[in-house]
Symmetry: C3
Subunit: 272 residues, 3 copies
């Protein structure tokens, strides 16, 4: 097997790492099920009384600010710090960054308090985090940001350098940078944009791969985005044409059946 991402997929399926999530209540079920589907083991624990304890026994921690509240913000920071203390990778999903002061402040707090392995968001969220002008429309990327996404590679690279972490910008083409290289993942399907939670699920997959390969967050992020993109293509082909509900089920099916051979055969990406 020559594809390094296919090797990582096998590692996830063999190790079944525990992936701790502090995440939103909108898509949390999808996150748990997609984590199981890729072969890892999800746990969700947001109480301040246990967030750090659970983080310390996990293989990776995913912090997702989709539905913030006063209780979960300190828990995210506590979990992130506990992970940092043990060298456990932390994935941050700044859902809706730019859409409210609470989200902006929380993103800033997390970035300053926690050493991140990977940040993943849409172009509006990542631009906001990068301190560039951006117009976030709720939790979806704004049209003007999408139109200007040609510069995504440079945005990702600059933010990756600034924070010393891997940056993933999800979109029709996914852009992934470790500050040096930029990789573009071409797999995917427009139907992915018609479901809630596909971004959150990408972050869960990144967490699963990071847990299996804690020293390779760049490769882990690429592998995760390849899996989601390929699964989107397979899902549409299989039964996704029937509509959003069937596409969603077929997406979970495709992730659960993803194997090294499929990933190797279908992966489409290039490096800049």
């Amino acid at each position: 097997m020559s594809n390094p991402y296919a090797v990582l997929l096998n590692k996830v399926r063999e190790n079944k790492p525990l992936v701790h999530h502090i995440t939103n209540y909108v898509t949390v079920n999808d996150c748990a099920n997609i984590t199981l589907a890729i072969g890892a083991s999800p746990v969700m624990a947001e109480a301040i009384g246990e967030a750090a304890d659970i983080a310390a026994i996990a293989g990776a921690v995913v912090l997702n600010m989709g539905t913030l509240n006063e209780r979960t913000i300190p828990s995210m920071i506590a979990a992130g710090k506990a992970a940092n203390a043990k060298g456990i990778p932390v994935v941050f999903d700044p859902v809706g960054a730019g859409a409210s002061n609470l989200r902006n402040d929380t993103a800033a707090s997390i970035i300053s308090a926690v050493k991140l392995s990977v940040i993943r968001g849409n172009i509006s969220e990542i631009k906001f985090v990068a301190g560039l002008s951006s117009q976030t429309k709720g939790v979806d990327a704004s049209d003007s940001d999408i139109a200007g996404a040609g510069s995504a590679g440079l945005t990702a690279q600059a933010l990756a350098r600034k924070l010393g972490c891997v940056v993933v910008i999800s979109g029709a083409v996914d852009t992934i940078s470790d500050g040096a290289k930029i990789v573009y993942v071409e797999n995917g399907h427009p139907m992915l944009g018609n479901l809630t939670g596909t971004g959150c699920m990408c972050s869960s997959l990144i967490g699963s791969f990071c847990a299996a390969a804690p020293d390779e967050p760049f490769a882990a992020a690429i592998a995760a985005m390849l899996c989601m993109g390929i699964a989107g293509e397979l899902a549409y082909e299989n039964s996704g044409q029937r509509g959003n509900g069937s596409f969603r089920i077929a997406l979970h099916d495709a992730i659960s059946r993803m194997d090294a051979a499929t990933l190797e055969k279908m992966a489409r990406y290039h490096e800049e």
Copy 2:
């Protein structure tokens, strides 16, 4: 196209309005996905630190008291007031009104603090809100209320006049009144009662239509109920006979594929 509700559907799909929800954690995922399926863009933000900010940039606000807690009640009122200040329609779903003092008090608080565009509930919930005697059994309508639903039209009309808003009573036949007219939507399927969240999803659809047509809450509510009823019929026909799980998926499929032609052809309703 002669059907005004089909025209509204096209408007939702063209405008992709942002629909802010403060809703329960049981059916929130279904609400987000159904909002996307009809062509709008969902956002869920319940923290008091951002509820009003997000409401102010939304096209409509949906307040659903399915799983109340101490944190979300003030957020609902703050979001509702922020929407009122900008003339943004507010849809209220008084889930379980009548079942506990907390729900009763919260419904009363929201109704007195927020100017509503549409209230939607089952016959037990609406009767309670209307101050009539009612026996709410958990979050489902009670059998005695269902048996007496012949008077739903008058109940809806009276409450609509009292509050100066549109009232929707969901049931085998949906009853919708703006205080003057009463429209009955005959579309639907009994399987809709076998799933959690079909009422909540109706409220999300009403929010989506209201966001696209803020000056026409009566037409918006009718259009939303037609879409759900027609989708229920299509879902059963397509694969819903297999059971509750398949019906649910087919329901999401049908909403995502709903178009003006289907709505125009299948809509069954009459005015009293």
Copy 3:
């Protein structure tokens, strides 16, 4: 009909009892939908201001500590006590017991404050609750505990005697004891372990059966585990081979179509 569990199934479908849940936000939608699918009526109400009120009008109460927080712990105890005061069965699902001090302390608090009818967990959780040494890995059973599960019958029996309640240990074979007898349910499918929430859904089914037969918690627990196991087998046969997403939908389909004849024909269990 000679099978007593098939008789209980009919009772659930006839009585449509209200089942109150204070449960986690990861699998709460699955719990609500599976409760509807078996023929009962779910309600979820966690606010301290109504948890006891709703419990007092329910047919059974399910307490699930999958995602604990500071607000819900006192609500669980209040709901449990309110149920006890009226002789309403309480089912406890100690998700992740052993994985953090918060969970351990909460499990201990609930067990000491509330008289339980049924406790259901995986082997790691039940061993922890039983005060035996155990290694809980997040919310899944640990491999060493699974390997030593031959002693599950004795563990269940001992805990059942100690607490004076029925104990259910879910696994490849489910073990159920009332302190005297031990019944093993052999139905099931390995795919059930690939989804989040199958344990939580078992607890919801147990709650539904207990509500229909409050004086027969042992038979209720066995009936619930038979339904889930048989549904798992049917789900795999029907469309579960397509992957996790399809299996999940087929599982909900199978529960919603479960009837006395199917249960009687397919049930595989033995008593020790």
